[in-house]
């Protein structure tokens, strides 16, 4: 089954760029899943640029409205995602627990719709 894991954190919660902690964190992201063979398969994943670069759009009655900023004004912002293949929720949660963002923010695990 496929699971989408979205990463949320407050701005500035992660280690600052250029610090040894930042490098260690990036190292963890690069090797994520390698220590857990058979738990989950990495399908896709990206980190997003900051919410100040976000544009929200909606279409009402044929008219497009665009707004500066993210869809939801919350303290913790969507910062990236993973798409994984895992046998069940326990395996997906085991993968999610290794994501550095779980330590300084929150990660949400959701099954992907099957058609």
């Amino acid at each position: 089954m496929k699971y989408m894991i979205t990463l949320y954190a407050a701005p500035g919660a992660e280690p600052g760029y250029g610090t040894p902690e930042f490098d260690a964190m990036m190292g963890e992201y690069m090797t994520l899943g390698e220590g857990m063979p058979g738990v989950a398969t990495f399908l896709a994943g990206e980190g997003l640029q900051g919410v100040e670069t976000a544009t929200t759009l909606r279409k009402r009655g044929g008219k497009i409205e665009t707004m500066d900023g993210p869809f939801a004004e919350t303290r913790e912002h969507l910062g990236g995602f993973y798409l994984i293949e895992a046998a069940d929720l326990d395996a997906a949660l085991r993968f999610a627990a290794e994501i550095p963002a779980a330590r300084y923010g929150s990660v949400e695990v959701r099954p992907v719709m099957e058609y």
Partner: protein, 399 residues
Amino acid sequence: MSEAALGQVLRQDRGRLLAALVSRVGDFQKAEDALQEAATSALVHWARAGVPASPLGWLLRAALRKAIDGYRRDATLSRHRDAIAVLSEEEAADPDPQTIPDDRLRLIFTCCHPALEEKTRVALTLRSLCGLSTPQVAAVFLDAEPTMGQRLSRAKAKITAARIPFVVPGPEDLPDRLNSVLTTVYLIFTAGYTQGPETGIDLCTEAIFLARLLVQLAPDQPEVEAALALLLLTHARAAARNGPDGQTLPPARQDRSLWNRTELDEGFQLLDHAIARRAPGPFQLKAAIAALHADASGPDWPQIAALYARLLDFEPTPVVTLNHAVALAEAGHPAQALAQVQQLERQLSDYQPFHAVMADLLARTGQNEPAKAAYDQAIARAASPADRAFLMQRRQGLG
């Protein structure tokens, strides 16, 4: 007659049947639907042809047939071909519920999965393992029946959609997951203990039933043995916990002749077994504290304080900190206890026992005016008229 027989089978063995079905059907909701349909047809068939020799076997086989029908009705048939083939084989083999493996341990791990809300875990466990009906589960929570029905449906839908597995967790996850199961059982017990038998459902008995089931299905687990010990050691004192006027009494002031000796002895023995396995855990500490409260020579407060301090390593919660402070004060350190309790003001300001403890500690350390103010807070939040009367008497004693 047949209706009573069906009711009895479902009350007693619903968990066993449901567990067997979930493991075969592979889907919580479909398994429950199949069991429901099988029960409905049992009402008709048993009334006509009499109660079968093995009611449980009849229900299991009928439910397997209903599950096959359910898959056949489903529009996305091609996906279910394998499931139908497996179920047809199972059904043809005429499984005997007395000899098939007991899958209730897997069922309880699914019902108490941490991906479900705590209240949902309690509700799902009562419904699935204890065989309570949805209206009965609703009554436990003082919820409207449709609200509880929705909660249970949402939970089953999530189990299927997010694929919460129907397995006993591996060694790496077992301690945390077992703790989630035992906490659910303990919540059921405390709900019964505080609520009393008002709802007509004895939740304490249900919790003890679940704990015994776990001891049987997951043997050699010290935390499981200790959880059952904790329930028994607490339940043994149930008849003595209130004074003649209804006031709550601490164990030290209870009439010991009202304590249930059989439950106490079993509790002590289970706890000894658990501790001998040398793998400490929160339920062993809580059971050991309950055992010290029941000690024939009165509570050993320094020892109780030490156990609470150790429990804080596992559960660093304000309530455990409060209990630790009470034990410290009883062990002769009221000033230290007071300092500890004062730190909890912000977190526990709505918690009645916090104010009662605070008042007592202030009085013990000679601070009568602040103590009176704390008593007023405790009196305003008192759970019963008898408790209120007791606190007012203490307050008046301060002059």
